[in-house]
């Protein structure tokens, strides 16, 4: 059973003297229990609104949602104790210390203060827990936010851009933390635009654009679907080899130490063209797509004025045209 289930969600923001903004449109999403689920999309695609809908911060105009099997927002109070969330910027009282901020939350739910100390240590803030939050860097606030989200020992952890404001080392630490959480059985719903990070930690993703999920499925399936059709070619005589390939009708571009041959439907055609001209390969390897290129391709397609077909959640989409 999906731990997060959204069917036909629709949210339009209506503001005085401004055109209505359709933040989420007919959104379907399933997130199965366990592992790390990536929720991707360009700025303004509706990721944060979707998370706010799930957490009852904004009201959906239409559609139904379930969290941990319970309909939300109607039964959100019954499941909120099993959900941790960090949405965009962590929210704390700036004049209170990090410890007091966590203690206030712990107090409300009768969580022992020992757990506050454990989590401060866990996120590496034990040494600065007595300092006021207004003196924290954004990265420290993010870590405190993660500690606050973990206070409840959640089954589902919703993290919206947890890498915001973190330096490279901080991002790596958060990535390792998310991997550990996913491995420990916590389901992590990770919303991010840092695609390389997502590719490293997520096993499944959904890609949003203009308020809709345009693709969802396992990372491997998405990458396979987004195979470029390009190959990397190394030769003993690169300039001569390039000329041969271009004469054979291939598009050739330079890589740091090889040629990139595009539009290759059958790699044998490359070897044949080169061997016929007396050139022999030292390397021929497919150039696989990364999540970033798949993401850019999908979101660019979605921006085209066409009827975007939303695939069934969990199903890999048909391969797009090679670029």
């Amino acid at each position: 059973m999906p731990i997060v289930e959204i069917r036909g969600a629709h949210k339009t923001y209506r503001r005085w003297r401004k055109p209505p903004e359709h933040a989420v449109r007919d959104l379907d999403l399933d997130v199965d229990a366990g592992g790390v689920f990536g929720f991707l999309g360009p700025n303004g695609s509706g990721k944060t609104t979707t998370i706010r809908l799930l957490l009852g911060l904004v009201r959906a105009d239409a559609g139904s949602m379930r969290l941990l099997g319970e309909p939300v927002p109607a039964r959100l109070p019954q499941v909120i104790g099993r959900i941790g969330a960090l949405v965009e910027t962590p929210l704390f009282f700036p004049n209170f210390t990090g410890r007091r901020n966590l203690a206030l939350l712990a107090d409300a739910s009768a969580i022992p203060s020992r757990r506050v100390e454990e989590l401060l240590d866990f996120v590496g803030l034990a040494g600065r827990a007595g300092d006021r939050v207004k003196g924290y860097s954004l990265g420290m606030k993010q870590r405190l936010g993660i500690a606050a989200a973990l206070l409840k020992n959640p089954e589902l952890l919703i993290l919206d851009e947890p890498g915001n404001g973190l330096d490279a080392a901080g991002i790596k630490e958060v990535r390792e933390l998310i991997v550990r959480l996913g491995a420990s059985g916590v389901t992590v719903l990770l919303s991010s635009h840092q695609l390389s990070e997502v590719q490293q930690v997520c096993d499944r993703v959904a890609i949003m654009s203009r308020g809709r999920v345009i693709r969802s499925g396992s990372v491997a399936a998405l990458l396979a679907a987004g195979t470029t059709g390009d190959v990397r070619v190394r030769l003993a005589d690169p300039p001569a080899g390039r000329a041969v390939l271009e004469r054979a009708g291939f598009t050739v571009s330079a890589l740091p130490d090889a040629w990139r041959v595009s539009g290759v439907s059958d790699p044998a055609a490359v070897t044949r063209a080169l061997s016929d001209a007396g050139h022999y390969l030292t390397e021929l390897s497919p150039i696989s797509a990364d999540l970033e290129s798949v993401f850019l391709q999908l979101t660019a397609d979605a921006d085209q004025p066409q009827d975007v077909r939303t695939p069934q959640a969990g199903q890999p989409a048909p391969a797009g045209p090679p670029r």
Binding site: F92, L105, S109, A110, F122, R143, S184, G185
Partner: protein, 348 residues
């Protein structure tokens, strides 16, 4: 992040449930009392109080029984002289009408407060009432500030949203804040009045007149004073509700203060000037009516008085009950609107 080897996160570990209302109350109380603004304003209020008490002490002097007896003799002499003078004038006055001449009533001792015949001005028991009212107004203003900043700070830091990750029932979250706020404000206002009662007794003892100098009023003096103090303390609840409601509607403490200032300094005075008959529906008028012992009388538009034969401002009496009801209506409307908007508002 220097993660420890043992992870404190485990799906098999105990999960928490949504906070109980008691848990929310506990957390909100801790937050209110830990706020720097609360501590600073209470400390400043305490300093202001001590300075006021010191000034009262400095400006009044102890009166011995001998001084008091001497002053009483002087007062009685003055009353006797005035009475005699009235009688003489009355006997010498030509009678224009048949029957006995009406020379008016001779003055009573109550019309001549004893402190007027003392060289050094002692603290009069009647002044305790005025100071109790001043303490009440000060705590009411403090309550407005505390309430406005209590919720305003949550809006400006957006911490209110963080609470909803723990307790998504918005009205429950707000109710906990209101209960804690009103409880603490009332406790503070009552404590302030209790402290003033004790201080007043000491000041009267060392720098004032005995209550017995009030004459027939002395018997109910302390009861009346404590009733006035209770009314003054309850005023803080209304101002706290107004501060909370305004700051919540505006989502900002400073905006709430601005609106309050414009309303009290401009709107009420304009209304009072344009149509004095509307005074019974103004907050400040009703505050005054609530704290005064038997309400107050204000004057509306000119109206023809057939007995006098000319136009006079129409007197309008506003009772304690009227004052309380109108104040509470204002507070309920502002707070109710704030809660209703918060319940439905999309939060970002």
């Amino acid at each position: 992040m220097t993660a420890t080897t043992g992870s404190p996160v485990s799906v098999d570990g105990p999960h928490t449930s949504a906070p109980t209302f008691g848990g929310l109350l506990r957390a909100e109380t801790r937050r209110l009392l830990a706020r720097r603004f609360t501590r600073v304003t209470v400390a400043l209020a305490l300093v202001g109080y001590l300075i006021t008490v010191a000034l009262i002490w400095h400006n009044h002097h102890r009166v011995s029984a001998h001084d008091l007896a001497q002053a009483t003799v002087q007062r009685d002499q003055v009353i006797a002289e005035i009475t005699r003078s009235i009688e003489q004038d009355c006997q010498q006055a030509p009678s224009t009408e048949p029957g006995p001449v009406d020379c008016g009533t001779p003055p009573s001792a109550e019309e001549f407060p004893i402190e007027q015949f003392l060289r050094y001005r002692p603290l009069s028991p009647g002044q305790l009432d005025d100071y109790a009212l001043a303490v009440g107004v000060a705590t009411a203003m403090l309550a407005f500030l505390l309430a406005g900043t209590f919720i305003g700070a949550e809006w400006s830091t957006k911490n209110l949203v963080a609470w909803l990750f723990w307790e998504p029932r918005r009205l429950r979250v707000m109710a906990a804040k209101l209960v804690v706020l009103l409880g603490c404000v009332l406790a503070f206002a009552l404590l302030a009045q209790a402290v003033w009662l004790g201080t007043g007794k000491l000041l009267l003892h060392y720098r004032g007149l005995p209550v017995s100098t009030l004459g027939p009023k002395a018997a109910h003096f302390w009861t009346h004073l404590m009733q006035a103090q209770l009314r003054a303390a309850l005023l803080s609840l209304v101002t706290a509700l107004l501060g909370f409601g305004l700051a919540s509607l505006m989502r900002n403490s400073a905006a709430a203060l601005g609106v309050a200032f414009v309303y009290f300094a401009v709107v009420e005075n304009v209304v009072r000037g344009l149509n004095p008959n509307l005074q019974p529906y103004l907050i400040t008028t009703n505050i005054a009516a609530w704290v005064a012992e038997h309400g107050i009388t204000v004057y509306g538009k000119l109206a023809y008085d057939p007995q006098q034969g000319y136009f006079t401002p129409r007197p309008i009496h506003i009772s304690n009950l009227h004052g309380a009801v109108v104040m509470l209506l204002f507070a309920a409307v502002v707070t109710g609107a704030a809660l209703a908007v918060f319940r439905r508002r999309d939060l970002s």
